[in-house]
């Protein structure tokens, strides 16, 4: 923030106010508060089970699709599913899935050495949360199969 601005000269506010740019993220803070209230009102143990159920279901479904490789199968991992599809770059997978209503992250996930270790240029990664459903896991699998038909 500033104290005083003219065409000739700018005087900044004292630290720390000078590092605060404009309006604070008011809407974001209120939104986060509402999200936290919602989350704390849920049964946390049931929530963990729900996410694990989706992970188990989606993992089994994707393992059944020829050409799909799941990366990272550590026991007890959180509900994320990183995968590659033979012959289709993860960014193309991401675009096709997007048009099927599924948002995944595609890229090197700020983990380029790991991608090198896995021998892949990038991966696509789906993540399941409290609000995800089995139907959406099915959309994910169906979208991958549609991409395979498109690129075959």
């Amino acid at each position: 923030m500033i104290e005083r601005v003219t065409f000739e000269k700018v005087t900044y506010a004292p630290i720390p106010a000078r590092f605060e740019a404009g309006t604070p993220p008011v809407a974001e803070v209120i939104g986060l508060g509402v999200a936290l209230d919602w989350l704390m009102g849920l049964d946390r143990a049931a929530l963990a089970l729900h996410e694990q159920d989706l992970l188990t279901h989606a993992t089994a479904r994707l393992q059944g699709i020829p050409g799909v490789t799941i990366h990272g199968n550590a026991p007890g991992k959180v509900s994320v599913l990183a995968f590659t599809v033979d012959g289709i770059h993860p960014h193309d997978i991401g675009t096709v899935l997007d048009r099927h209503g599924v948002a995944v992250r595609a890229g090197h996930h700020c983990a380029q050495p790991l991608m090198r270790h896995l021998g892949v240029p990038a991966t696509a990664r789906a993540a399941f949360a409290a609000y995800s459903t089995r139907e959406e896991a099915e959309l994910l699998a169906g979208g991958i199969e549609a991409a395979q038909r498109m690129f075959s």
Partner: protein, 140 residues
């Protein structure tokens, strides 16, 4: 045709599967490497020049279908053209994929016009232009 089919037309899928002018160009006069740090795509473009004319060109590297097909069609489009003609092609191509296709004569782009659908996918514009930016660096 859906936007997705518009993006992944058969010509693009064909150039992704069997890229033209792919590999190392022995005795290249100029080369440049392009890299997209966000997605990890990388491409190397090598060029042979006779005066101001591109007599041969090859590319190598890896990337998504859009970037690979774009590099492939680019090499086919600029081979035999002068450096100035290649730049003009890039200007038109860039305008088209960034949604300013109404300002360019897409007929002059020939087969490159197949990438018009990219304009509907803003996050993929960088994929389609990576090879072109790299070529521009190589012949600047």
């Amino acid at each position: 045709m859906s936007e997705l089919q518009e993006l992944y037309q058969s010509l693009i899928l064909d150039h992704n599967r069997s890229p033209r002018n792919f590999g190392v160009l022995e005795g290249a006069d100029r080369h440049a490497e392009g890299y997209n740090p966000l997605c990890g795509d990388q491409v190397k473009v090598e060029v042979k020049l006779d005066g101001d004319r591109v007599t041969d060109i090859k590319f190598s590297g890896n990337g998504c279908a859009i970037s690979k097909a774009s590099a492939s069609l680019m090499t086919a489009a600029v081979k035999g053209k002068t450096v100035a003609e290649a730049r003009t092609l890039f200007d038109g191509f860039h305008a088209m994929v960034t949604g300013h296709g109404d300002q360019v004569d897409t007929k002059a782009l020939g087969k490159l016009a197949i990438f018009a659908g990219v304009a509907e996918f803003p996050v993929r514009v960088k994929c389609a232009t990576l090879a072109w930016h790299t070529l521009r660096d190589a012949i600047k």
